[in-house]
Amino acid sequence: MTRRAAVGLGLAALLPLGFLGVFFAWPVLAIFRLGLAKGGVLDALGQSETWRLVGFTLGQAAASTVLALLAGLPVAFLLARCALRGIGLARTVVMVPFVLPTVVVGLAFRALWPDGGVLSIVLANAFFNVAVVARTVGGLWSHTDRRAEDAARALGASRWRAFTSVVLPAIAPAVASAAAVVFLFCATSFGVVLVLGGGRFRTLETEIYLRTVELFDLSGAAALSLLQFVAVVAVLLLGAAARRRRETALRLRRKAETARRPTGGEWAVVAAAFAVVAALLVPVVGLVLRSLSTSDGWSLAGYRALSGTGQNGTLAVSGLDAAMNSLRTATDATLLALFVGVFAAVVLVGLRRGRTGHGLGTALDTALMLPLGVSAVTVGFGYLITMDALPGDLRTSPLLVPFAQALVVTPLVVRMVLPVLRAIDERLRQAAATLGASPLRVWREVDLPLAGRSLLAAAGFGYVIALGEFGATSFLVRPDAPTLPVVVARLMARPGGLNGQMAYAACTLLMVVTIVAVVVIEKLRVPTRAGAVGEF
């Protein structure tokens, strides 16, 4: 790496670091400082109750992650490797669970297993996160050369051996990425644990919320947040270690070259994948049915009411306005996250190239993931005591909502784009540079088209996360511009059949909006220039 490139990289790193510093590290540290100043952190750390919380939090997250991986990998195979009718539908459907408000999914799982306890927590967490695995792993899988696998089979490896010895190492970076993200989502899942835990099962996240919001015990909350923080960093570093050296230059192929009709035993995997997709649909269909049923039979009353502002004006805006708010905020958040995330991914790829940058790269990589491991309420309260120092008093600005959502979306963008960017042979970029392409031009001519598909996938996924984001949004959103998940939560908190029906109708609307958004984003193409042949 030349000195000039190093300087450029350093400047590029400032953007994601600056964003992270201002909208994450600063508010969180400010809240921590407030908690630490009051003392009592050591007391909290000394209690056995605290460590039980840590144990349960990590345990349920690990179990949920394993389950999500088990369910998600066949789906990833289906999406990446199979040329079958209905794949497009499956691609879209797996995204739907992600946007559903946790309270609604929680109630759905309670209905299925009234006293499920830990099992239903794990199932619900996995339900939300199958999409992360399927999409993250599927993205890389569809780009990996099929011939290595065929070669292994020709050398006498069983299908399973070929998978474990050739395919798995190739997709391992994406699996590790997905596992890390899922683990973080599960470790910090709030609504699911609250609704399905029934008070008996508590995690660090629910306890931090309780201490911060109800008891205003900031030092206790800080102690737990620190523990959560340490656990998250430890898991991230483990994940980074697992990924290291795995991300090698793959010969990226076009998807059309890697997907084909399944044969033989592959049908079993395909069947498993469709079973997973069907299972994901059960609660979804249940919600739609609930939105149509009243005590007096089937009715569209919920949907009709949604075009207004609810029973007695429960909502400040109509359901359709809320849908527009959701779309608008999610667009902002996604664009912001893509901008920051792509910058970060470019820096990370660059750092890896440099010999000295490796440790630095791991540090930045880990730092980018941290927002997934810290409570929305901690960040939200942190904003309150810091953002007034910024010009324009951002504390009450509607801008904070997309900013907070972008914090959650950015790590996903990085995780989805990075493996593909790293898989691009460095010499391809060098070839472009010797042909007269400036670093920016190299990015546009080589990285962007080659990573374009996964970039769009990341955009779609990020959009869906932003659409469904509730924790930070509910904390920051302006009452005159609620998003759909906020509307659902508000409706669920009201008595009366119509309100409930409206809540389910709003969920259905949210799902429809999600599906449309995913389909539209997937139809987008990275603009390419003359001589370009198809997509990667």
Partner: protein, 344 residues
């Protein structure tokens, strides 16, 4: 219009990959960097391209230091061992890439792409996907892509070594023709002598990060600088001799050499230095036999070896070639003998 490399050093941590290298490539000249793998020749090439940061010395073009000039402004073309074609672009898209970067108009691009496709013998391939090309075709496209923007210097990093032998030989002839036709100034890295000698006006032999010898191929071939260079250039046996009136006498007998002054010398014997000849003065027993396309290579254990080597390589005609166990007579052939220029 020339490249000067002055005392260039490239270090990776404590490892010195390139050590105080001096080299000049003048206008229209093709210079081959020849050396075993790991000798630093590729690093040197990458430093010239601007892909590695030198820790000492300078790369100059027409006397101007290039250290502040980034890769994309050097105007040097680069061809990698395995092409590194842009998989998302078709053949024409690859070749036109550098032209687009220079803002060449569409019409001119089309013309130039067609011209280059013709030059590399791939006319009509413009719309093909590069992933559908054979290795040789890919390498031709890579060459065309590098040549298209008329680089002031073409850098070739083992351009043919990923190809199979027959293809390599054919392509190296093609490459030589293309380079001459394009009037290219080129610096090429290779570990293959044949390639270097086919393509280059001058050869620079590199070992362990240093350039050991620079010169026209024939000169380097016939007069390697020292034993190491000689061994790298295929001299399996090095032995002392005494030259008197153009006749070199050694433990393996006497042979007439041209343009060698009188006095002690060291001879480097390639396998062709000894050939099976019923009138030869050496006797030995064949231990191994390997077929080459136009000759047979033998490993012969010399009978009654005195001061000379115990075993030597020798060649024989394919027809009626002796096999292991046969006793043969060998004669020295000046064609296979190099004279080391360093004093013994």
């Amino acid at each position: 219009m020339s490249l000067q490399i002055d005392e260039l050093t490239v270090r990776y941590g404590s490892f010195t990959a390139v050590s105080t290298v001096d080299l000049t490539v003048t206008d229209g000249e093709v210079v081959a960097l020849l050396g075993p793998s790991g000798c630093g020749k590729s690093t040197l090439l990458r430093a010239v391209a601007g892909l590695e940061r030198p820790s000492g010395g300078a790369v100059r073009w027409d006397g101007a230091d290039l250290s502040g000039v980034p890769v994309h402004r050097r105007g040097f073309g680069l061809v990698f061992q395995d092409g590194q074609l842009f998989p998302h672009r078709d053949v024409a898209g690859n070749i036109a890439f550098g032209l687009r970067m220079r803002g060449v108009g569409a019409e001119e691009r089309l013309r130039r792409v067609a011209e280059l496709l013709a030059l590399v013998g791939l006319s009509g391939y413009g719309r093909r996907r590069v992933t559908e090309l054979s290795g040789g075709e890919q390498q031709r496209v890579a060459l065309a892509r590098a040549l298209a923007p008329r680089p002031r210097l073409l850098l070739l990093d083992e351009p043919l070594s990923a190809l199979d032998r027959a293809l390599r030989e054919q392509l190296s002839v093609d490459l030589a023709r293309v380079l001459r036709a394009a009037g290219a100034t080129a610096l090429m890295v290779t570990h293959d002598h044949d390639e270097a000698f086919t393509l280059a006006d001058r050869v620079a032999v590199m070992q362990a990060g240093r350039i050991r010898q620079v010169g026209p191929p024939a000169r380097v071939w016939a007069r390697p600088a020292d034993e190491e260079v000689a061994r790298f250039l295929g001299c399996g046996t090095v032995l002392p001799a005494e030259v008197r009136a153009g006749m070199a006498r050694s433990a393996l007998g006497a042979v007439r050499l041209r343009d060698v002054p009188d006095g002690p010398v060291e001879l480097g014997l390639r396998s062709a230095a000894l050939r099976v000849d019923p009138s030869g003065g050496l006797t030995g027993e064949v231990r191994e036999r390997v077929h080459r396309r136009d000759h047979v290579r033998l490993l012969v254990r010399l009978a009654g070896a005195g001061a000379g080597p115990e075993q030597v390589e020798a060649v024989a005609a394919v027809a009626g070639a002796p096999g292991p166990g046969d006793v043969v007579r060998l004669a020295l052939d000046p064609e296979g003998i190099a004279v080391l220029t360093a004093a013994p």
